[in-house]
């Protein structure tokens, strides 16, 4: 117990890194995910193929492999990347694929009849999107979006393997010196649990709200 208290400052630093990683990567993933979803829905053949290839890779390759690739391969090519920026980029790019699935699914969930009703009164595609379809799609997208965020937060723990001092890395460091795995990793797990559980409550709330649309 004393050990835990003594470790708090270190763990706190790790938590801070984890939070930064999660927030920044989430922003990258959301923006890129939207772009990919739009490419799939409205893009020409080339864009759609590129998007599909991107999704196929992200679905088939483990995040850890991508992080290693970034960590080892980029310096080899002469590109020096800070672990933090690199981590944000790789995690963001990886989860952008899942975000794209969420957004595309939400757009497709809006009934075709909504598009037709908009066209029937003479609206054009941009107006139909902004006024009619997107408001409905966003409501549907809420819960799966939050679920993907939870996966992303858990995914940030992998940066510990490439030496970035997130809370998991700090935990492992402390263990190797002091051998109190239950307390320390228990605390580390608790940190993630608090964040993810809070997110999942948001998701449950959004789920209730989403059902009013239909």
């Amino acid at each position: 117990m004393d050990l835990l208290i003594a470790s708090l400052p270190l763990l706190g630093g790790g938590v801070w890194i984890t939070l930064q990683l999660a927030v920044l990567a989430a922003m990258v993933a959301t923006v890129l995910g939207l772009a990919i979803a739009f490419a799939q829905l409205f893009g020409g053949l080339v864009l759609r193929i590129v998007a599909e290839a991107y999704l196929y890779i992200a679905r088939g390759v483990p995040l850890l492999v991508l992080l290693f690739a970034m960590y080892y391969a980029l310096p080899y090519a002469g590109i020096m990347v800070e672990p933090m920026s690199g981590g944000v980029l790789v995690i963001g790019l990886y989860f952008a694929a899942f975000m794209a699935d969420v957004f595309r699914g939400a757009m497709l969930a809006v009934a075709q009849g909504q598009w037709e009703a908009g066209r029937a009164i003479g609206l054009r595609t941009p107006t139909i999107l902004v006024d009619i379809v997107l408001p409905q799609a966003l409501r549907v997208a809420g819960p799966p979006y939050v679920n993907t965020l939870i996966m992303l937060v858990k995914g940030t723990s992998l940066v510990s393997v490439i030496g970035l001092s997130d809370v998991t890395f700090v935990g492992r460091q402390i263990i190797e010196r002091t051998l109190a795995p239950f307390e320390i990793f228990g605390a580390v797990a608790a940190v993630y649990f608090v964040i993810c559980f809070a997110l999942s409550r948001c998701g449950a709330y959004l789920e209730r709200r989403a059902s009013f649309v239909h």
Binding site: I57, L64, L66, Y72, S157, L158, P181, G186, F193, S200
Partner: protein, 218 residues
Amino acid sequence: MSSEITLIGRIAPVLAEGLYMTLELSVLAIVLSALWAIPVVLTLISPRRPLALVARAYIEVVRNTPVLVQMYFIFFGSSILGYRLTGFVAGLIALTLQNGAYIAEIYRAGIQSVSQRQTESGLAIGLTPREAFWVIVFPQALRKVVPSLANQGVVIIKDTSLVATLSVAELTFEARLLVDRTAAVYEIFLTLALLYMVITGVFSGLMRLVERRLRIVQ
């Protein structure tokens, strides 16, 4: 040209061993998770409130913490308790606990999607509630959940890469070793990525076949 052949000659056997380990781990984790999820889901939907709550708590804890942390917890925790587990076993247990929870939820969704009327028909012809469940509800639920199970299987295969952090000689671990030794960074990581895509691709393809088979039977 010959240097490339030597390179392949050095890399291939090592990666092959890693591949074997990854496949072994994946198959075990998938099977064990799918099996472990059965008692979990039965507890989850049990009418006895305290039991259901325990299952719910387990699922929530496991789903809201990273599997990597769970692996460390089990691996390092086991040595303190005196029963030192190998990285392989610790990783396997963590993967099973984590994915068992997700699969239990998948089972639950499948079961609850089978209409109540099915159970009622079963009871009406004289089956006990337990018989009605196993004979009528469970097979139908199973067919409905195959796509979600396929997804979870892919997740499991990818997560086996994490046991590299516990020095288990699977694919990712061996690849990293090779990079240190041969400095053929691009080739190795490219091959690594391709291998994973092939494994997950083949697995997904198999699951689609299973899905089609089940649908024909129905």
